[in-house]
């Protein structure tokens, strides 16, 4: 169990020592700059800085409760929904702060889509699920909606399975199909970044493999950030990996390098399965 192992660990390092250089990323899509976050009085994120590369898959790994989901939810400001959250530091999206009060979160969330840990299709038909985003953003013509739904479902590799039952309830789909439907739903509003919060944790290996294939296909067109506690998944699909531990960014770098040659002891312990 991770909890008992964590207790036996020595006190965590306060900050990554200089031996763990960040990768140099040219034209990052998202820049996290000295970000700290509190839930009430409990600090969940400690002074995190990292750059997310464009049209790549970046994975956040780490044990449960390390803050990787919290960090992910900062990117589309979903943490705003929780009253007690307080944030310091900044996040820039394509050069502009997303933290500023005048930022239109609805517009931001349209550009930065999200797929959740547990598939959450709306209790509507498959078609209406995918058409939901375009509809709220003002698409009215049936032909446009038809096109968008088909394109999104094709991108999510779901079209062939559901094209004959678009009017059926989305809740009749299998778990893996539901998750791909959620991806299609996120794609339908044409985002630039897609956040995936442990998208495969509730799925069987076959369904997981399909989602992973899909992610690799999608990275030509989108920037993907995936939170996972499955290290094989991170090593299989991602280009860059960030290891978070107890709210701190321990190490960040190219995935191959992190998994083959981690600079930090904690990273090595985690990826070799000594804890976590």
């Amino acid at each position: 169990m991770p909890d008992s192992d964590v207790e036996t660990q020595p006190a965590p390092a306060v900050a990554p020592p200089p031996g763990a250089p960040h990768p140099v990323i040219v034209h990052p899509v998202l820049r996290v700059d000295h970000l700290s976050l509190w839930y009430g009085t409990a600090q969940a994120l400690h002074d995190i800085s990292l750059d997310i590369p464009d049209k790549r898959i970046t994975a956040f790994i780490g044990p449960s409760g390390c803050g990787k989901s919290t960090l992910l939810r900062c990117f589309n400001r979903l943490n705003d929904l929780i009253d007690s959250v307080r944030i310091e530091g900044g996040i820039e999206f394509e050069g502009a702060s997303i933290q500023a009060p005048e930022v239109d979160t609805n517009h931001l969330r349209r550009r930065i889509g999200m797929v959740f840990q547990k598939s959450n299709p709306f209790p509507k038909s498959i078609f209406e699920n995918v058409a939901y985003g375009p509809r709220v953003h003002g698409m009215r013509r049936r032909r446009d909606l038809d096109d968008t739904v088909e394109r999104s479902l094709r991108s999510a590799a779901l079209w062939d399975e559901v094209k004959d039952r678009l009017e059926d309830s989305a809740l009749g789909l299998s778990g893996g199909q539901q998750q791909r439907l959620c991806i299609a739903r996120a794609l339908a509003v044409e985002p630039e970044v897609i956040l995936l919060d442990e998208p495969c944790s509730a799925l069987d290996p076959v369904a997981t493999a399909r989602i992973e294939e899909l992610m690799v296909e999608l990275k030509d067109r989108y920037t993907l950030i995936i939170v996972t506690h499955n290290m094989q998944q991170a090593s299989r699909v991602s280009d860059f990996t960030a290891f978070l531990y107890l709210g701190r960014l321990v190490e960040y770098g190219e995935t191959q390098r992190i998994f083959i040659n981690p600079h930090m002891k904690q990273t090595e312990d985690y990826i070799t399965g000594r804890f976590g």
């Binding site: 969330r109 889509g113 309830s169 959620c182």
Partner: protein
């Protein structure tokens, strides 16, 4: 292990006896409900079955045509068993029911020529048909009367339908027009237009009034002719004691010889009577005829109530659950809302009278119906105010159910919508509310059931013993929300306990109660079907 098994024996026993106790309590509840339903069903449904019309000879020599309605077994010391007889002929004897001791009956016969007449007035007549007259001259006597009466009866029924159409349709329309013109005249008189124009308009209205009056006179003349026509054919009846009574053909609703009827004919009679009861208008201060206006009033009131309570309750619950900051104040409001459900309903009635009827209704009257004053239009009880009063009464039920429905919508569903860039309003409207719809409908079903059975508050905000017109009819504006209405619950009270002829109406009370239960059940079934349809559509995840 041994310790546990030794000590578990008495504890198992306790657990088992508790299970039996709980099961027993449930069984008792079910038994009580089933018993109640069975009692109402048997008493109410038996009413329409045509019994034999017996010719009874009593020990004191009197003879009487009677249906036996009830046999009460009493100990010999108290006089032995006695029978409740329906003897009819209220106009001759003053009563149509009487109790007779079984021992006082010397003879029973089932004469095939015994005739039962159901009349528009004075209730049933039991006797023999002895003569048929037309304009005073005898057309048939003795055995030929019944055969000759058949076509006369048919013609009488047709005539009566024509008269009813005339009264309700044409004359009703003219009457309403006369009233409208009167109000228009008042409005012109009260208005501030210059005198010349006012005079011109007044004379125009006066001309239209005169025309309407003329039309009314013509129609009234026609009605009088038809009425006289109804009196031309007369059936002379003879009661068991030899008294004679002339009954105009137009007064006879049904005429039959009960002792000649086969089971099939009785079954047909049973169905037509049930249908008349459900679809007809009441007569004889509600003791006879049908109860259609009461059914209509009940259903329509519940309908209007639902339309008022659903938006009010849902919006209030939405604010409480989705928007309000969850603090002590909201908790306090929630407790208050729950307590509101426990306020005695008559208090809501008094509030409805003071607020809706006098304040709102009075204001509407002063602003829009000033010409009709001092006769109130909305400033008196009516179906709208009654429905709104009940909406207030049932709104806590809807709020509580809606809140529970909203709370059951998973957070991840809302986040899914927000993460697509939908606003909170869009999320609530398009995702949360549809997902909570089954729960909301459950609340609405409970509210409807409560409203349909409520009587006390309605007695002071618009429910009446006899409403001459339905709240919906064919004269513009078709929907008359200011009208008073009849209600099944009040009908039960009125017929059962306020009627001058309690014996006659006892079965009606049961039949009406049964119908109220059936009506409420039907309305609930419709709502449940709707909810299940929504559930299927928004079926929650199988996980």
């Amino acid at each position: 292990m041994t310790v546990r098994s030794r000590s578990s024996a008495p504890r198992d026993l306790l657990g088992q006896s508790l299970t039996w106790l709980c099961g027993g309590a449930l069984a008792l509840n079910l038994l009580l409900i089933l018993g109640l339903l069975a009692l109402i069903a048997v008493q109410g449904l038996g009413f329409f079955w045509q019994k034999d019309l017996l010719l009874l000879t009593l020990t004191d020599g009197t003879r009487v045509f009677a249906e036996i309605h009830e046999r009460e077994v009493r100990p010999a010391a108290a006089g032995g068993p006695r029978l409740r007889l329906k003897t009819g002929n209220r106009d001759l004897t003053g009563l149509d029911f009487r109790w007779v001791e079984e021992s006082a009956i010397a003879g029973r016969e089932r004469p095939r020529d015994a005739v039962l007449l159901e009349r528009l007035e004075w209730g049933n007549f039991h006797g023999r048909a002895v003569e048929l007259r037309h304009d005073g001259e005898v057309r048939a006597t003795g055995a030929g009367v019944w055969e000759a009466f058949g076509p006369v009866h048919e013609a009488g029924l047709r005539l009566r339908r024509r008269v009813e159409r005339l009264e309700r349709g044409d004359i009703g329309t003219v009457n309403m027009e006369i009233e409208r013109l009167r109000l228009e005249r008042r409005r012109i008189e009260m208005g501030g237009a210059d005198p010349a124009r006012r005079a011109a308009r007044l004379s125009e209205v006066a001309a239209r009034e005169a025309a309407a009056q003329e039309r009314f006179a013509v129609l009234a003349g026609r009605l009088a002719t038809e009425r006289r026509e109804m009196e031309r054919d007369v059936l002379v009846m003879e009661a068991a004691d030899g008294q004679r009574k002339e009954v105009a053909a137009g007064q006879i609703v049904t005429a039959l010889r009960p002792n000649t009827l086969s089971v099939g004919e009785r079954a047909w009679l049973y169905l037509t009577r049930t249908w008349t009861f459900v679809s007809g208008d009441p007569r004889e201060s509600n003791t006879e005829g049908g109860i259609f206006p009461a059914i209509f009033g009940t259903v329509m009131m519940v309908f209007i109530m639902s339309f008022a309570v659903a938006p009010l309750g849902i919006i209030a619950a939405l604010y409480l659950r989705e928007y309000a900051h969850q603090g002590p104040l909201v908790r306090l409001v929630r407790i208050a809302v729950n307590n509101l459900a426990g306020v005695p309903s008559i208090v809501f009635g008094v509030f409805g009278l003071g607020f809706f009827v006098y304040l709102v209704g009075g204001t509407i009257d002063r602003m829009f119906y000033a010409e009709a004053l001092p006769t109130p239009t909305f400033g008196t009880g009516g179906i709208l105010w009654a429905s709104l009063t009940l909406a207030l009464l049932t709104v806590p039920v809807v709020i509580v159910a809606t809140e529970e429905g909203l709370a059951a919508v998973p957070r991840i569903m809302r986040e899914g919508s927000l993460a697509l860039g939908a606003t909170k309003l869009e999320t609530t409207w398009r995702v949360v509310l549809p997902a909570a719809a089954p729960g909301i409908l459950t609340g609405l079903i409970l509210a409807m059931a409560r409203a349909a059975g409520e009587v006390a508050p309605l007695m002071i905000v618009g429910m009446v013993k006899l409403a001459p017109q339905l709240p919906i009819d064919t004269t513009a504006p078709f929907l008359h929300l200011e009208r008073k209405f009849m209600h099944l619950g009040f009908h039960i009270y009125d017929v059962g306990f306020q009627s001058p002829n309690v014996e006659a109406t006892k079965p009606l009370v049961f039949a009406t109660a049964l119908l109220l239960i059936v009506t409420v059940t039907l309305m609930n079934l419709v709502a449940i079907a709707l909810r299940n349809h929504l559930r299927r559509r928004y079926a929650s995840s199988v996980v």
